[in-house]
Symmetry: C2
Subunit: 558 residues, 2 copies
C-alpha cells in the first residue's frame, strides 16, 4: 500500500518502447504499426504468417457477480500476466478497450488499478488507436445508406417502420435514445422514429471482435439485417452494398493493439463489445494472435461468470475454436460479504458469517465453470481491511468444493503479490486436465438453448416465453439461423433477473421478454430485463472536473 | 501524361520513413509522434521550443471561382512545394485534412492529383490521425452536457427553444439535418427540435484551426455560446464546465500532422474547417510550425479567392499575426472558358474568345489580391487539350494587368513541370514587395465590414440587410463582439450570390439573410444564400463501389 492514486502510479511507470514489447514476443519492428511510442497495431500480414505455430495456454479470468464493493477482474488479469512473467513464463494479457462515453459520466478507468495496470492509461481510456471511432463511422455509414436508399426510391422495398438498424455515438447521451429523424421537408427524407445506442452496443463492435480476418469481417458485415420489407423479408447490409465500404473503414481497426503493463508485460487491448446484448470479450484476433506469440495468455470476460464466462465459452470459444486451459474465478472478501447480505456501509467490520453466506454465490459459479470441463482456481483479490479469519473461511469453503482459493496482493505489490496464483495457474494449465466443451450443442433448438442456460447456469426453475418470442425463434430456425448460439442479456448483479437477489437465489423463473437476431455477429440475443444501450450522464458528470493541469497532464479522468 | 490513375501513381510512390521527412526539417525523432511509418504528429513541446526562430516565406495558393471544369488548387500547392524543393529551396506545404463523410458520396480525394499528390492518400481521406473523430467527440460531449444540464434541473436557466449548439457527425446523412430528440418519456429528457451538421462545420473545428496553443484552445472552447436564457443572456461552454474535458479530447488533435508529397517534400495536413460558415484554412499551428522549420511554406485557402483568400487574409492572418509574401492565383483554360460562357460539354474545342471573356473573373481576383498588398503570380494549371493560343491569351491579359501567368505541368510531370513558377514565386517572396494589410480594420463596425467585403471584393452595389440582422449585429457590438472579423458564407461559384453568374458580374446587391456568432472561433458569420451544413448522399453513393481488392488495396475511394 502506497497511498498513491492509480494515475500517479501509472505516470511514474517506466514504459518500454513499444518495439521492445513487441520484440519480447518476437514481433519484428516492421510488423508493428506504431501509434506514438507506446502503442502499436500488429499487422494483419504478420498475423497471417503465424497460423502454423502451436498455441500457448489460454487462461480465462472471470468473477463472482459484481457488487458495488468491486471485484478487480481486470486488475487480476493484469496482475496474473505480470505474475506469470515474473516466474519466468512468456506471458501476455488480452483485455477489452474502454468506451469513451462513460469516462465523462462516472469517474473510473478500465485499465486495471494499483500496481496492476495497463499503460498508457489516458490513451486507453480516450481515443486510443481510434478503433471505436472507426466502428462508429462504419455503423453510421450503414445507417445513412439505409435512409438514402429509401430517399432515392426504395428499390429494395424497405418498410420504414421496420428499420431495425439505429445509429451509434460513443457518448453517454440520453437525449439520443429515442429521436425522430428526417424532419424539415422533402429534401431531408421520410420522417421516422429511431434512436442512437452507445458504440460498444453496435453489432459492428461484436462483429469486429468475432471476425477471424478481413474476408470474414466483410462477410459478417454483409450479413447484418438492417430492416425488413412489408412482407417481413430481411434486408441486409449486403443488399445495400454497404459491406465493402464498411470493411474499408474497419481495415485498420481489425488489427490488434499492443501496449504494456506497468511491469512491461505485453498487453493486447482490442475490441470492447457490450456484455449484455453482445458477448463482452476482447477480439478473437487479439486472443488468437497472443496465443501464437506467448506461452500463457490471460484474458477476461465481462460481468460475472454467469454472463461473461458463459458467453466466452459458448460464443467466443465455440466460434473461434478456442479452448481455455484454466479458469481463475476472482472474488473479494467485501463482495462476498455483500453477497452474504451486508450493506456497503457495513463492509468495514469483520463478518465471517456473511463471508460464509456469500460463498454460496462463489460456489455456484465454481460448479458452473467446472461444468465446461476446465480446471478452476479462485483468486481472492486482497483489500486492506480483509481479516485472516475471513480469508480462511473462503479458503476452507473452496477446498470443500475441490478447488483452491489463493490470496493475491497484486494491487498493492504487483507481480510479487500474485506469485502463488501464477504458479498454480501455470501448473493447472499445463496439467492437461482441461477437456473443454460448450454448454450446449449447435444443433439444439434456440428455445432449448435459452432454457439450458437458464436452468443449468442460473439455476432457474424454468423460463417464461411470450408466444411472439416463441414464434420469432421458430421463424429464425426456419430461416436457417437455428444453429446460432444464444447471447443472454440480463442483469449482471444476480443469477436471477432481480438485481437485488444476491448470493445463490433459487425458486425463480427467467422471463424472456424479447429476442433479437444479430445475424452478422452470429448470435441470437435473449433479453431478460431492462437493458440500457445508451447511458445518460449523472447530475454532476465527471466531465465537469476533467481538464489539463499546469503540467499538461490530464486530471479528473480516473 | 501516363494514363495512370491518381491512386496508381500514389501506390507506386516510394515513401520515405516519416522520421526522414521530419529530419529534413530538423525535427528530432523524439519530437515526432508516429502514426504508422508514414504519418506523425509534431509534438507540442517541440513546437513551443521553436518560438524564437525566424519565419520562412509564406506563399498562399488561391484560385479563380471554381467551376465543374476543375482548377487544381491543392494539386498546384503540392506541385509548387515540390518545385521549390527541386530548385534547392527548403520548402514545406500546409493543406487541410479531408472530411470522411463526402468520400462515401461522390468519388474524389483531397490530396492533390497526378504527380502532385500527398501520401498516404488512403489514410488522409479516411481516419488519418483521428483529428476529426476527436473534434466530433468534443463537440458531441458539449451537446450531451447541455441536454444533461437541462435534464437535471437546468440551474443555468437555459431556454430549451434557444439552444444553438447542435450535434455533429462526419458523415453525409440528410436524415440527421432536422431531428427531434429526447422522445420516449421522462427518463430521456425534454423533447426539442435540433439537428446534426457534418463535423467540418463544427465551431470546434474552426477553433482547433485558429488556436495558438492548448491554453488558447481551452479559452476559445469556453467562449462558445451554446444557448440563451429566456432573457437572451448567452450560456457558454464554460458555464457548463465542458471546456476542460473538451480540451482533453482535443489535446492530441491540436498537434499538427506531418506527411509527405510524392517527391518527399514535407507536408503538414492539419484541420479542415468548412469554407462557408468557417474560414476554410488549415490550422494556424501547422502554418506557424512550418514557417519556423522551412524557408518557403506553400499553403492554400478554400474555394475561390473572393471567399478563401479574403478569409485567409482577414481572419487567419489577422488573428495569427501571419503575413503572406506572395500569392499564387490558379486558373485553368477550361475553367476560364466556363467563366467565359462555355458549357462543360463544349470544353474540348479551342475557344480563345471565351478564354479572353473568362479572364474577367481572373482579372477581378488579381486586382482584389493586390489590394492586400501582396505580389501575385498566376499559375495556369495545364490540362491536355489546352491550346497555345488559349494559353497565350491568358498570358497577354495577365501581363496587361502587370503580373505574370506561368504555364505549369506539375500534374503530368511533378516538380519538373513547375520549375518556372517555383523560381518566380521564390523571387517574388524574397523581393520584399509584400506589405500585407487586411481589408478592413478591427475597429470598423460589423455591418460596415460586411459592406466593405461586398463592395470591394465582390463588387456588389451594396448590401440588403433585414432589420433583425441589423439589430442583432448592434447587440453583439454592445456585448463586446464588435472587433471580430466577418466570415462570409455565400456560394463559391460566383462573386455574387447567384451561382450561375460566372465571370465578373456587376449590378447586384448582396442580401445578408442571417448572422451567427462564433464567439469561440472569434468571427461573425454572415450568411448570404443557402448554406448546406449537412450534405446528403447521391442516388448511387460512392460507398457502393468502395471495397478491398484481392491484394487488400482500397478500390473505389478515389
Amino acid at each position: 500500500m502506497t497511498g498513491l492514486s492509480d494515475i500517479d502510479i501509472a505516470r511514474a511507470a517506466t514504459k518500454a518502447p513499444i518495439r521492445d514489447i513487441g520484440a519480447a514476443l518476437d514481433i519484428p519492428d516492421a510488423a508493428l504499426l506504431p501509434f506514438g511510442h507506446d502503442k502499436a497495431k500488429v499487422s494483419a500480414d504478420f498475423i497471417d504468417s503465424l497460423q502454423s505455430r502451436p498455441d500457448g495456454r489460454l487462461i480465462l479470468v472471470t468473477a463472482i457477480n459484481p457488487t458495488p464493493a468491486g471485484e478487480g477482474k481486470t486488475t487480476t488479469t493484469v496482475g496474473l500476466g505480470d505474475g506469470l512473467k515474473a516466474i519466468g513464463k512468456k506471458s501476455a494479457i488480452c483485455i477489452r478497450e474502454a468506451s469513451l462515453g462513460p469516462c465523462f459520466g462516472m469517474k473510473g478507468g478500465a485499465a486495471g488499478g494499483g500496481y496492476a495496470q495497463v499503460v498508457p492509461m489516458e490513451d486507453i481510456n480516450l481515443h486510443f488507436t481510434g478503433d471505436f471511432h472507426a466502428i462508429t463511422s462504419a455503423h453510421n455509414l450503414l445507417s445513412a445508406m439505409i435512409d438514402n436508399h429509401i430517399y432515392w426510391g426504395n428499390a429494395l422495398g424497405i418498410d420504414a417502420r421496420r428499420v431495425v438498424w439505429r445509429r451509434v455515438m460513443d457518448m453517454n447521451d440520453r437525449a439520443l435514445r429515442d429521436v425522430v429523424t428526417s424532419l424539415g421537408g422533402v429534401a431531408n427524407g421520410f420522417p421516422r422514429q429511431t434512436g442512437f445506442d452507445i458504440t460498444v452496443a453496435s453489432e459492428v463492435m461484436a462483429i469486429l471482435c468475432l471476425a477471424t480476418d478481413l474476408a470474414d469481417l466483410q462477410r459478417r458485415l454483409g450479413d447484418i439485417i438492417v430492416a425488413y420489407t412489408r412482407d417481413k423479408a430481411p434486408v441486409t447490409a449486403r443488399d445495400l452494398k454497404a459491406d465493402g465500404a464498411m470493411t474499408v473503414l474497419l481495415q485498420q481497426a481489425l488489427q490488434p493493439n499492443l501496449v504494456q503493463t506497468l511491469e512491461q508485460t505485453p498487453a493486447f487491448v482490442h475490441g470492447g463489445p457490450f456484455a449484455n446484448i453482445a458477448h463482452g470479450c476482447n477480439s478473437v484476433l487479439a486472443t488468437r494472435t497472443a496465443l501464437k506469440l506467448a506461452d500463457y495468455v490471460v484474458t477476461e470476460a465481462g460481468f460475472g461468470a454467469d454472463l461473461g464466462a458463459e458467453k466466452f465459452m459458448d460464443i467466443k470459444c465455440r466460434k473461434a475454436g478456442l479452448a481455455p486451459d484454466c479458469v481463475v474465478l476472482v472474488a473479494t472478501i467485501r463482495a462476498l460479504k455483500m453477497n452474504g447480505g451486508v450493506a456497503k456501509g457495513d463492509l468495514g467490520a469483520e463478518n465471517v458469517e456473511a463471508v460464509q453466506a456469500g460463498c454460496a454465490n462463489l460456489a455456484r459459479h465454481l460448479e458452473n465453470l467446472k461444468g465446461f470441463g476446465v480446471p478452476v482456481v479462485v483468486a481472492i483479490n486482497h483489500f486492506a481491511g480483509d481479516t485472516e479469519a475471513e480469508v480462511a473461511a473462503v479458503q476452507a469453503r473452496v477446498a470443500e468444493l475441490g478447488s483452491e482459493a489463493i490470496l493475491c496482493r497484486h494491487w498493492a505489490d504487483g507481480s510479487a503479490g500474485i506469485a502463488n496464483l501464477a504458479h498454480r495457474v501455470a501448473a493447472l494449465a499445463d496439467s492437461g486436465q482441461a477437456d473443454f466443451a460448450p454448454l450446449y450443442p449447435d444443433g439444439m433448438g434456440l428455445l432449448d438453448k435459452i432454457e439450458t442456460i437458464a436452468t443449468r447456469i442460473y439455476r432457474a426453475d424454468g423460463i417464461s416465453v411470450p408466444d411472439g418470442v416463441r414464434r420469432q425463434l421458430e421463424e429464425w430456425e426456419a430461416a436457417g439461423f437455428g444453429a446460432l448460439p444464444i447471447c443472454m442479456a440480463k442483469t449482471q448483479y444476480s443469477f436471477s433477473t432481480d438485481p437485488a437477489a444476491r448470493g445463490a437465489p433459487t425458486g425463480f423463473t427467467l422471463p424472456v421478454r424479447e429476442v433479437r437476431l444479430s445475424a452478422g455477429a452470429g448470435f441470437v440475443v435473449a433479453i431478460c430485463g431492462d437493458i440500457m444501450t445508451m447511458p445518460g450522464l449523472p447530475r454532476v458528470p465527471a466531465a465537469e472536473s476533467i481538464g489539463l493541469n499546469a503540467q499538461g497532464f490530464i486530471e479528473g479522468l480516473f
